[in-house]
């Protein structure tokens, strides 16, 4: 098992579907990580504040409402503006294939859809924590390459 990481699991925007986020939070906990769950309907600013105060190295964004194209890039942008360049962003929920390239370009390093085994997310955390692939890095590696 890799090193213990502090990971924020966040639900941005107007979206009440939190089952997925809770399952992922639980899987990460059982994988030996410290998980901070934000609860529902958080704004990008609130999520950034949580990442800062909790000194998280990873932030996982869950969205099933269709607003990911706006919210995920906004969060990446705010992380860079706060000089949290080493924070790694990943996402999940209902994210259509067609939307993914733009999200990767904005700084998201992995997108996990329905049916992803939780072990895959743990593998991603382990691999990503051993490389310089934060939201402010120029590294264009992404999970699944």
């Amino acid at each position: 098992m890799g090193e213990r990481q502090r990971i924020v699991i966040a639900k941005p925007g107007l979206d009440g579907h939190d089952r997925g986020a809770k399952v992922v939070a639980r899987a990460l906990r059982d994988g030996g990580h410290e998980v901070i769950y934000t609860g529902l309907r958080r704004t990008p600013d609130q999520i950034i504040r949580t990442v800062i105060d909790e000194d998280a190295r990873f932030v996982g964004l869950s969205s099933l409402s269709g607003a990911h194209n706006h919210l995920f890039p906004r969060i990446c942008e705010l992380l860079r503006a706060s000089e949290l360049n080493d924070v790694v962003v990943f996402g999940g929920g209902i994210i259509p294939e067609a939307d993914r390239p733009a999200l990767y370009d904005s700084g998201v390093k992995a997108i996990f859809g329905p049916g992803t085994p939780s072990t895959e997310i743990l593998e991603f955390i382990e691999v990503a924590s051993s490389m310089d692939c934060g939201v402010g890095s120029n590294n264009d590696w992404r999970w699944g390459d």
Binding site: L28, D30, I36, T38, G39, I52, D53, E54, D55, S82
Partner: protein, 273 residues
Amino acid sequence: MNRVKLARSLSAIENGDMEVDDADGRIFAITGPPGVGKSCLIDSILHRLAPEFSVAVLAVDPTSPLSGGALLGDRIRLTVLDDKEKSDSIYFRSVATRSSIGSIPSVVKSLANFLVLEAFDLVIIETVGAGQSETRCAAVANRIIVVEGPARGDGIQAEKAGLLELADLIVVNKSDIDGAQRVVNDLKMSLSINQEPPPIITTSALTGDGINELVKMMLSLEERESSKRARCRQQLIMAHENTIVNNPNFEEVIDRISQEGLSIEEALRELID
């Protein structure tokens, strides 16, 4: 306040990479059984303290003894963090118990000292839900607030020794529910035999009843001389435990006890020397 720097310093302390000097400040422990309303009460308190006072909160949640991971969920209750006027004077940090025993890891003492040195007016430590014998918070805080609630047992519960004796202030929360006054009466009856019984107040984090009074009492609460000895005792025990748990051979020695029949006495000698 540079939040990024502050948060990263706290991680360094937590991981044992940074030492902190002792500090003399107002460090509160808010403790009590699970589900009694500690997080919601802290939210109500913060709504009244900020932005006039700067407050740091260390919220402790348990680490899984199986995986070493933790789900830190106290932040969800904090509506005050959504209030832009107030949230800038609040720093809220979730802390996992990691390998420590009991409701507060000893590193919390260093984290709290650091926050005092960073000029926070008050530092509040929220313990994990704690039982009757959980007196460990005395080692890390100099003002102890015990939160109780209605329907948690009969009058004999109030007579038992333990955590209640170390309280500097007792709060009976959920005063909106029947039975709160009865708990107050039981506690008063039991503690009236003591030399300096701590004040007891009722609050409701739900309706806001009693919160202003609680905040006022917190601000005027002084360190009690009579608890000083108990505090030193807990600090000594905690330091002793640390030398054992933080010994690099700790896990290996456990393996040897369980697999090679090493005796507990021999193991202790190895870990302490």
